[in-house]
Structure formats: structure tokens, C-alpha cells
């Protein structure tokens, strides 16, 4: 072999990069396509929206919807296609790219190591550091490709081409930041779940900091501490500030360097923080399959509660100042009223609009829980329980009931947190009203649980995806349908079209009953499928 030396030197590295690519390529491709398609759709519709005065009116109404504002950030440059795109999908893209990067990094590094598959890999010529760097590089490549795709789409839409680079660079930076933090967490924790959880929690705090910074001027500096905040402060199409991007890339580089350094200072299979191996037995909630399902749900319910409580406490605390602002700007509220958003200038109306968003995280919670149930079966953890004198219906039912209980707790926590926040700054919302508002979202939550359970019974590998469809999918569908000015008939396919802004308006009784009935039917159909099918693993 004439190139023998060279091949020997490079081959192991290439093989590891190839391995990382194989594990990432499908999701990465979907992510880049998503990043390219979303701005293309928004830019494509922008022309028709601005040409049509009624469409423009409904757009400004949408922009005044506080739920949309809180989620999507301040609309800074709605007068250009690019600025409109940044406001419309900037946060969604940054969060999607960030979450995908986190899940992929922890799955391909800590997840593979935890599963024991790195034992063979690291017995070869590569050091843990080299293997880790190559996996992170591949995920980072996807983040850069996604940012480049967004820039390319907006570049062709013109005319502010520098702004398209600023926006693309900011999005890529958010993905790189998330990947770097996940890589560091994967060195700190010995297992995948806490590494993923800690990183997602950190991103959640970052998102909250952006929201607080956007909402409260004297806390605007908070945005400099958050990747999403820095993306907002860079103001694409409205200033194009480079300094926030430098801060974002600098911070990312520091975190990545820390992750690489940590990779060389730990045992394979261990983390920098290793829990003690032994402990006293805690026998509570181990007495039955149902109790055990509750026990397994406690940790996740606690984590989701913390996130939801923080968000809705923030909503409660800022409700008064936001509604005051809206009340002073009758142009906003008038156009909003014409588009159907009435009462935004009152705390009750504002919180009611935001309560409808609660179906997103709580619906996702039910999907994730059923996804975990299916994973336990696939990884054969369920096998010892499935061999006990417990019917399949009880086995599945225990988790469905525990998940329903968790969802009830989450919507109750949201009501309590909002009420505490509102009450702390002056009031305007009673606790029963808050509860009425959050419990009103339960039909969509149950639809999510129903879809996940149906999939668990018939196509288990799709349980998580199916569970995300009614709430997350339905919401995105509604947003896209509204952006493209779709007819009401199309819009009504989204569950959110049948959700009234409670407590500002009365609940849509017919819609709630219909959605709940459909959910119950899906759960029953799922149970039938689960009874009949072979267990996996």
C-alpha cells in the first residue's frame, strides 16, 4: 500500500465520523429541510398578506396577541419580508434546532456510552476526547447547515442580505450553543436522562430569560445571558448588531472547550459526578403495578411542574403591565378585536389567551410518558412485570392513569402559579377562574394522551410522535393556517380551533365534549391493540 501510513493515521477518525454521521443523518436532514422550508413558506405568504388590507389587519391583530408575542418575541421589523420571518419563526426555529441538537448530542455520546457501545469503540485507536469531538462536530455541522439554509432562503428574498447572514448566524449559534452545553452535560452526568434533562432545563431558563428581558425593560440585560436573548438582541433586519453574536459564539467556544477538557478526565461509563452506588431501600409505591406507575411518574411530573410553574408565574407577574400597555394602545386592541381577540386589555383576557397554550407542554408531557412506557417495553425492563399476574389492560392502564393524574397536576400547577403571580402585583384573576382556564385545556391534553395510547397499542414506535400530533402539531397547523389565511374549514382541523379562551369566554362545551369523547375512544382502541399484539423486546 503506497498510502499505507496515511490510511492508518486517518482511517479510525474517518470511521468514527462516519458512525456519527450515520446516527445523525436522517434527523439532521429533516432539521435542515425544516429550517429551509419554514422561512420559504413565510416569505412566500408575506407578499399576499401585505397586498391584502384585511389580511394585514389580521396579521397586526395576530402580532398583538400576547400569547404569540410572548412565544415569538417582539415584532421589530414587520415591514420587511425578512423581519416578518424573524418574528414569525425565529424563536420556533431556534428552539427546534436547540432541542434537536441537545437530544442528538446526548443520544450519540452519553447514550451510546451508557448502552456499552463505546467500550468496543474506545478499545480501538481513538481517545474518548477524539470520539467526542467528532460526534459534536457532526451535530454542529447540522446546526451550521440549518443556519446557512435560512440565510440562503432569505438572501434570495433580499434585499437586506447582511441581515439574512446575521439571522442565519444567530440560529446556527443557538444550535451550536445547545450542542456544546449538551456535550458538557454528557461529561458531567453518567447517564443520558439527567444530561438531557439538565441541558433542556438550561435552555428553558434561557427562553424564560429572553421573555422576561423582552417584557420588562429594566431586566433587558438578562437577554445577554441567554442564547435566545442574544439572538433577539442581535436584531436582524432592525440594526443587525454583531456584538451579541460574538458573545454567543464566544460563550459556545468556552463551553465546548470545557466539555473537551472534561472528556479526558473521567472514566468511561462514568461521569464527573457519580451517584453513590448503594442506598437504603425506599419501598413506598412499589406495592402494585399502579403504584409503581405513579412512582415512575413523580420525577418527570416534578420537572415539568417546575418549568410550567416558572413560565406561568412569569405570565402572572407581567400580566398587569402588558395589559396596561395594550389598554393604552387602542389601535392594537381594536384591530385585535376585529380579528377575534377580545379583552386583551384585561388581565382575564390576557391570561385566558395564554392558558390555551398550556395544552402544548402538558400534551407533550403525556406523549413523552407514553413514549417512556413503550421504551421500557422495547428495552425489556417491562418483561419482569409483564410476567406477573397482571393483565395487559392493567399494565397499560396503570401508566395511562398515572399520566392523566400527572397532567391534572400540571394544569393545576399552572393555574396556581398564574394566580400567585397576578395576585402579587394587584389581582384581576381569582383562583377558580385560573383553574377554569387551565382545566379547559384538558380535552386537547387528553387527545394527546389518546393518540399516544392508540399508537402504543398498534404502532408502538410512533407513540411519542402520535402523542405530539394533537397539541404541538395542531398548534403549528393553526399558526401556519392563520399565516396563509386558510379558510375556516381547514382551520377547524386543529384542536385549538375548538378551544375557547377561558376564563374570558365560556368553555366551548360541544368542542370539549367531542374532543374528550374522541380521546376516550382512542384510549380504548389503544388498549384493544395492546391486548392483542406481541410485546416487543
Amino acid at each position: 500500500m503506497s498510502t499505507g501510513t496515511n490510511t492508518r493515521d486517518r482511517a479510525p477518525g474517518r470511521a468514527v465520523t462516519g458512525l456519527a454521521l450515520r446516527q445523525v443523518r436522517r434527523g439532521g436532514l429533516i432539521m435542515v429541510l425544516f429550517a429551509a422550508t419554514m422561512p420559504a413558506i413565510v416569505v412566500g405568504t408575506y407578499g399576499s398578506v401585505t397586498a391584502d388590507p384585511t389580511a394585514m389587519a389580521s396579521l397586526s391583530a395576530l402580532a398583538t396577541n400576547p400569547a404569540i408575542r410572548t412565544l415569538f418575541g417582539e415584532p421589530l421589523a414587520l415591514d420587511t419580508a425578512g423581519g416578518f420571518t424573524v418574528w414569525r419563526i425565529g424563536t420556533v426555529l431556534a428552539v427546534a434546532l436547540g432541542v434537536w441538537s441537545v437530544l442528538t448530542v446526548t443520544r450519540t455520546t452519553r447514550g451510546e456510552e451508557e448502552a456499552g457501545r463505546w467500550g468496543v469503540l474506545l478499545a480501538g485507536l481513538m481517545t474518548p476526547r477524539q470520539v467526542m469531538i467528532r460526534h459534536i462536530a457532526v451535530v454542529s455541522g447540522v446546526a451550521v447547515a440549518a443556519g446557512t439554509a435560512v440565510t440562503a432562503v432569505l438572501w434570495t428574498a433580499g434585499p437586506d442580505r447582511v441581515s439574512s447572514i446575521v439571522f442565519g448566524a444567530g440560529l446556527a449559534g443557538a444550535g451550536l450553543f445547545a450542542a456544546a452545553v449538551a456535550a458538557l452535560a454528557a461529561q458531567v452526568f453518567p447517564t443520558r436522562a439527567p444530561a438531557t434533562g439538565a441541558t433542556i432545563a438550561l435552555l428553558g431558563v434561557g427562553l424564560l430569560m429572553r421573555m422576561v428581558g423582552d417584557g420588562l425593560p429594566w431586566l433587558g440585560w438578562l437577554r445577554w445571558l441567554s442564547p435566545f436573548g442574544l439572538l433577539a438582541v442581535s436584531s436582524p433586519y432592525h440594526g443587525d448588531h454583531p456584538l451579541p453574536l460574538l458573545a454567543l459564539y464566544g460563550g459556545t467556544a468556552l463551553i465546548a472547550a470545557a466539555a473537551v477538557a472534561a472528556a479526558g478526565h473521567r472514566d468511561i461509563g462514568g461521569g464527573l459526578v457519580n451517584p453513590t452506588a448503594g442506598r437504603r431501600a425506599r419501598l413506598r409505591l412499589l406495592g402494585s403495578v399502579a403504584a409503581f406507575a405513579v412512582r415512575r411518574a413523580i420525577g418527570p411530573v416534578g420537572a415539568w411542574s417546575a418549568g410550567i410553574a416558572a413560565y406561568f408565574l412569569l405570565i402572572g407577574l407581567t400580566a398587569a403591565s402588558v395589559t396596561d400597555f395594550l389598554a393604552d394602545n387602542t389601535v392594537f386592541t381594536d384591530s385585535a378585536a376585529r380579528a377575534g381577540f377580545v379583552g386583551l386589555d384585561a388581565v382575564k383576557g390576557f391570561t385566558a389567551t395564554l392558558f390555551t397554550l398550556l395544552a402544548l407542554p402538558v400534551g407533550a408531557f403525556t406523549a413523552v410518558r407514553m413514549g417512556a412506557f413503550v421504551a421500557a417495553e422495547g428495552e425489556r425492563r417491562l418483561a419482569p412485570l409483564a410476567a406477573q399476574p397482571v393483565s395487559r389492560i392493567r399494565l397499560l392502564g396503570a401508566d395511562v392513569v398515572a399520566t392523566t393524574g400527572g397532567a391534572l397536576l400540571l394544569v393545576t400547577v399552572a393555574a396556581l402559579a398564574t394566580w400567585v403571580g397576578v395576585t402579587a402585583v394587584g389581582g384581576g384573576l381569582s383562583l377558580p377562574e385560573a383553574l377554569y382556564g387551565t382545566w379547559n385545556t384538558l380535552p386537547i391534553v387528553l387527545l394527546s394522551l389518546g393518540a399516544a395510547t392508540l399508537a402504543t397499542g398498534w404502532v408502538p414506535r410512533l407513540a411519542l410522535l402520535a402523542g405530539l400530533l394533537p397539541a404541538t402539531g395542531g398548534f403549528l397547523f393553526k399558526v401556519i393556517a392563520e399565516s396563509t389565511d386558510a379558510p375556516a374549514r381547514v382551520l377547524s382541523a386543529s384542536p385549538f380551533a375548538h378551544l375557547a379562551p377561558v376564563p374570558f369566554a365560556e368553555a366551548d362545551a360541544a368542542g370539549s365534549v367531542a374532543m374528550t369523547s374522541l380521546a376516550v375512544l382512542m384510549i380504548m382502541a389503544g388498549a384493544v391493540g395492546y391486548r392483542l399484539r406481541d410485546l416487543r423486546g
Binding site: 431501600a281 419482569p384 399476574p389
Partner: protein
């Protein structure tokens, strides 16, 4: 037939065009230790998963203590199970898992469980995450042996155990049989099967090749005979049941004997035999006899 505790009748499982288990009819009687042998992919685990109601048969049926295997809530009151590759909830400790399985199971002898924990030298204060393969297997074995379930279904339960623990395992199987429990043991460890099993079923490509007691299996198979003689060697050519004749030193001969030994003994009687040794085949040799031809062909 009334006291068969595990029964399969024409049990068949197809995955698309692949037939994993083909028309399998088996009866395991109460109180016996039943060995279930076969190479990888022969359909052992699929059969067990059908007995547990975890996999639905394409055709035929399986019963546990007369109850249809699909009725798991009733059928599983009669059994305890150790899977081939034990996976446990990583955040629970060994003690917590044993407690969970005892409380949800068919009834557990807690004192005996504690004794088993000692015998298997299991540290139950550790999280399952930190357990090795062998330790996870021990947790499942302790949980299963400690139940009062009439049937224990063990799917390759000793693949991760060291020789000391393997000995404890055999002792536990014998104690289970002494208490009247039926043990259904799928295994690759032929010495273990030979040591503890009353009857053995041999599965080949999803089909039942043989069911017999270990002595019966031996009788069906070739013994190795070694003969020492003085003077002229015995003439064994064309003697019924004699095969693979080979010289063993200057005045010895070795051959394989199958079927009744009378013709061979008559042939030997004509020579001056000074020593005769008959070695029965090990289960391993029997096993290889069954599958060797398949692999050669």
C-alpha cells in the same frame, strides 16, 4: 395428562415468511425439571414468550396449569419467570426490585428470599444501573426461586453466572423440585441440563426433534467402547451397530456402538478380551449429533 402444567398444542409462530416455532406439541408434567435445548435461533425464547402470553401464537395454543396463556392475569398466578437477558429499572435498588416483584407476583416466601440473597451473594443496596449482567440475573433468579408459583420458567438463566453461582443455581433448582415446583429450563449449559433435568426436549429450527429423559437420550445415541485384547484382534467388520472402528495402541480397539450391544458382544467373545470400557455419550455429544449433521449439510 391431567397433571401437565405446561402444554403446547401444535404451537406455531410465523414472522412473515420466517417460521420461528413450527407445530410444537409439548407436555411438561408437574414436579419435573424439564430441559429445553436448541441452538441459537431454534425458537426457544419465542416458545417461552408464547407460554408467557407475551407473544401471540399464529396457530395452536399454549396453556399454563390448564389456563390459556393469553389470559395472563390468571395464568401468571402459577408461574415465575427469569428472562434470557435481564433488564431492570436502572434507578431502583436490588431490594426495591425484589420488593416490587414480590408484591406484584404470585406470592413470595420472604424468609427463603433472604436466604437466597445470602446464597447468591447479592448486594441488594445497589442501584440496578450499577449491576453487572450476572448480578441482574441473580436479582431475577432470587425473585423467581423465592415465589411459591408452581412453575418456574427460566430462559438461559445462568449465562452470566460464575461457577460458584452456577452451583448455587443447581442447588436452588433441586430445592424447587423437592418442594414440588416444576422447572422449565432453557439452557445452553449442557452439563447443567444433564445435572438437573429429568427430561429434555430438543428443538431444531422451530421443530421438536426429541423429547426424552437423559438416560433414554443416551440409549438412543452412540456409546464409545474401548477394548484391549491379547492375540488376534476381534473381527468387528459388518457387525450391527458398530461404527467408526479405530486401533487403540498395539492391542486395543475403539468403536462407536449404537442400538442393542448383543451383536458386538458376540463378536468380541470370539477374541481374547482383557479389558472392556463403555463410555456413555455426554449430552454435548448427543447435542452435536443432532446439530452436527445439519451444519455439515
Amino acid at each position: 395428562m391431567s397433571d401437565s402444567v405446561l402444554r403446547t398444542v401444535s404451537l406455531t409462530k410465523r414472522y412473515g415468511r420466517l417460521t420461528a416455532v413450527d407445530d410444537l406439541t409439548l407436555d411438561v408434567e408437574a414436579g419435573e425439571v424439564f430441559g429445553f435445548l436448541g441452538p441459537n435461533g431454534a425458537g426457544k425464547s419465542t416458545t417461552i414468550r408464547m407460554l408467557l402470553g407475551q407473544v401471540r401464537p399464529t396457530a395452536g395454543r399454549a396453556t399454563v396449569a390448564g389456563i390459556d396463556a393469553a389470559d395472563v392475569a390468571r395464568a401468571h398466578r402459577n408461574l415465575a419467570y427469569v428472562p434470557a437477558d435481564v433488564a431492570l429499572w436502572p434507578q431502583l435498588t436490588g431490594a426495591e426490585i425484589l420488593h416490587l416483584l414480590a408484591r406484584t407476583g404470585p406470592g413470595t416466601d420472604v424468609a427463603y428470599r433472604d436466604e437466597l440473597v445470602e446464597r447468591f451473594d447479592l448486594d441488594t443496596s445497589r442501584r440496578a444501573r450499577t449491576y453487572s449482567t450476572g448480578n441482574r440475573q441473580k436479582v431475577a433468579l432470587v425473585a423467581a426461586f423465592a415465589t411459591r408459583a408452581p412453575v418456574l420458567i427460566l430462559d438461559e438463566p445462568t449465562s452470566g453466572l460464575d461457577p460458584l453461582m452456577e452451583r448455587e443455581f443447581r442447588a436452588a433448582v433441586i430445592r424447587a423440585r423437592d418442594r414440588g415446583q416444576t422447572v422449565f429450563l432453557s439452557s445452553h449449559q449442557l452439563a447443567e441440563v444433564e445435572a438437573v433435568c429429568d427430561r429434555v426436549a430438543i428443538l431444531r429450527a422451530g421443530r421438536l426433534a426429541e423429547v426424552a429423559s437423559v438416560p433414554q437420550l443416551r440409549a438412543l445415541h452412540r456409546a464409545e467402547v474401548t477394548v484391549t485384547y491379547t492375540g488376534a484382534p476381534p473381527d468387528l467388520t459388518d457387525v450391527a451397530g458398530v461404527d467408526a472402528i479405530a486401533a487403540d495402541g498395539d492391542c486395543g480397539v475403539r468403536f462407536a456402538l449404537s442400538g442393542p450391544p448383543a451383536p458386538a458382544l458376540r463378536a468380541l467373545a470370539r477374541a481374547e478380551v482383557t479389558a472392556l470400557a463403555v463410555r456413555e455419550p455426554s449430552l454435548e455429544e448427543i447435542f452435536l449429533d443432532y446439530y452436527g449433521a445439519e451444519h455439515a449439510g
